[in-house]
């Protein structure tokens, strides 16, 4: 990859340093709040929000958006962006950077200190022009704070605070971008199971069948206690497909020590389900 001038790198560093502290989840009262939504013609979910008491504004509710996004108009109206603020040096789409919404109200649900980016998103603009005003997108930093149920037929969502503190996509993107600025190969990613099972699994390169083959079951291990045997074809582990060795390790990464996990193997022609309780170990 090309070397980037030092100046650009510097800009990256500055941007990273500007990052505000991660927000702490604000735990509101633990009762479910139901928010009705509108399913617009494009099959997007539209909800009414208020920002710092201003509004209501109609925005798209988007589980595929890792950020919450406001257009510059409502960002200024609601005081999220200073009235005379200019874009962040990059005029296109009015991108003005990251800001924090003091109070974001979605339906009757209020959340404090929700990070947002300010930008006139062309897709949002396009929908807005065709189907009435759409002023932004509510995404992950908001809904991740809740146990959320989405029901298209009832056209409503319910929210209960779950204490989850959404990680900041900006921070992780910056890390990724910084890594990209290096010419170096990124460090290997080690897939670590969260507990010890006592299994060795394998799969040949030309093997396209579902699952991996259990090559060995360590004697005295959790897997042995559950009755798994060498030669079994491991199909799922804790409800996750294990079609490659890497996927098997990824699946084992979700199972905590002492947690009984459902494991499905094929032995001969039969599918067998057992529960394995892996232990704290390696």
């Amino acid at each position: 990859m090309k070397r980037w001038p030092a100046a650009i790198l510097f800009v990256f560093l500055a941007a990273a340093a500007l990052r505000a502290q991660a927000t702490t989840a604000q735990l509101e009262a633990n009762k479910p709040v139901t928010v009705p939504f509108e399913l617009i013609q494009t099959k997007h979910i539209a909800v009414q929000i208020k920002i710092n008491g201003k509004g209501p504004y109609r925005v798209i509710f988007d589980t595929g958006a890792p950020v919450t996004l406001l257009n510059t108009k409502i960002a200024k109206e609601s005081g999220v962006l200073g009235k005379n603020a200019k874009g962040g040096g990059f005029g296109l789409f009015g991108m003005a950077g990251q800001a924090k919404i003091k109070e974001l109200q979605v339906g009757d649900l209020k959340a404090a200190d929700v990070p947002a980016i300010i930008m006139d998103h062309p897709t949002v603009d396009a929908i807005s022009k065709a189907l009435g005003p759409i002023e932004g997108i509510v995404g992950f930093p908001f809904f991740a704070r809740y146990k959320m149920t989405l029901d298209y037929q009832a056209k409503e969502m319910t929210f209960v605070p779950n204490g989850f503190n959404p990680p900041d996509v900006m921070a992780s993107l910056m890390t990724t971008i910084m890594a990209m600025m290096n010419d170096k190969q990124p460090p290997p990613k080690i897939l670590a199971p969260a507990a010890q099972w006592g299994l060795v699994v394998t799969k040949k390169a030309d093997d396209d069948e579902p699952g991996v083959t259990i090559k060995e079951v360590r004697s005295g291990s959790a897997a042995a206690a559950a009755g798994l045997k060498a030669g079994d074809r491991l199909l799922t582990l804790d409800g996750r497909w294990t079609d490659t060795v890497a996927d098997t390790y990824t699946a084992a990464g979700f199972v905590k020590p002492g947690q009984a996990a459902k494991v499905v193997v094929k032995r001969g022609d039969k599918e067998i389900e057992v529960a394995v309780k892996p232990v704290s170990g390696i």
């Binding site: 979910i45 789409f93 997108i137 993107l173």
Partner: protein, 297 residues
């Protein structure tokens, strides 16, 4: 601050993809999951904080999809469809005989858009998500279920509903100039940065011992005590025994379970691992063991 915002822009826009101006059509896909038993659907969050779920199409895969209410339909990458031998009709829709979401949600004759949204291409080319993305699962699939998100759990709950969502209608007329500009920009940035080398994926190694965190009766401090050793495993061969207290792992002091768990997570098969232990019966003299990590977990 130009470049970061650009990049950010492209990563974030896994949103809101209005379709072209298609004629509205009747859906003909029906869920084969008749009973309304809730399904546990495994997911993971990508580095870009997208909800990634996996699906097999016609028994092939699994492929990685972003769960996206901002997508009006199911989107499947052209490369995947080529492999599957599913060709799009003139209208850009394809039919997938069996679309199976990990965790047991199965749709037959599912309709999907066969195309490569530039957002996914951008993320894939830069490796931003930390996984190759093959498409998006949007309205036409999601509306068939009541879906519960809870990021404090490692699975989602999907309850099948008796519902056959219609295929979405696109936006009539213009308004796509901005989107085209965005797509162009994304292509430019990804071109500038080039392909990011992917990290090598390595399974963790196996040492063959288990531990528990215990309070030392004398010092009242927490310590890590070996509570099982796999017979003939690497640790057993190195001389580790049940009851040994682990003081150091790879030259780092360990006191609580979390300490050793974290350090253990970076052990690869073939690595040489140094462990410093106390044998309770041999007294206060620490002993260094060298364990050769094997395969397995």
């Amino acid at each position: 601050m130009r470049l970061p915002w650009l990049l950010l822009g492209l990563a974030l826009l896994g949103v809101a993809l209005p379709l072209g101006a298609d004629e509205p059509k009747k859906a003909d896909a029906k869920p084969t999951t008749g009973e309304a038993k809730p399904l546990q659907i495994p997911y993971r969050l990508t580095e870009t904080k997208h909800v990634l779920i996996r699906a097999k199409i016609n028994g092939k895969g699994p492929f990685n999809f972003i769960l996206d209410t901002g997508a009006p339909a199911l989107f499947v990458a052209t490369s995947v469809c080529k492999k599957l031998g599913v060709a799009p009709g003139k209208d850009g829709w394809g039919t997938f005989e069996k679309f199976e979401v990990e965790g047991g949600a199965v749709l037959s004759k599912a309709k999907g858009r066969i195309e490569d949204p530039f957002q996914l291409e951008g993320m894939n080319s830069l490796g931003l998500a930390g996984a190759e993305l093959h498409g998006m699962i949007g309205y036409t699939v999601l509306a068939r279920f009541r879906i519960e998100f809870d990021f404090t759990k490692d699975k989602m709950t999907w309850t099948p509903l008796d519902y056959n969502p219609p295929l979405p209608r696109g936006l009539d007329g213009g308004g796509t100039a901005g989107m085209d500009a965005m797509a162009g920009m994304v292509k430019m940035v990804t071109g500038l940065l080039g392909k990011r080398p992917k990290p090598e994926i390595v399974p963790r190694g196996f040492l063959g011992f288990a531990w528990e965190e215990k309070e030392n009766p004398k010092t009242e401090a927490a310590e890590i005590v070996v509570n099982s050793v796999v017979a003939d495993g690497p640790a057993a061969k190195a001389g580790l025994k049940v009851g040994d207290v682990i003081r150091e792992f790879q030259a780092k002091h360990v006191k609580v379970a979390n300490d050793i768990q974290k350090l253990a997570n970076s052990v690869r098969a073939g690595d040489t691992v140094k462990v410093t232990i106390l044998h309770p019966e041999t007294g206060p003299k620490a002993e260094a063991l060298t364990i050769q990590a094997a395969e397995g977990f």
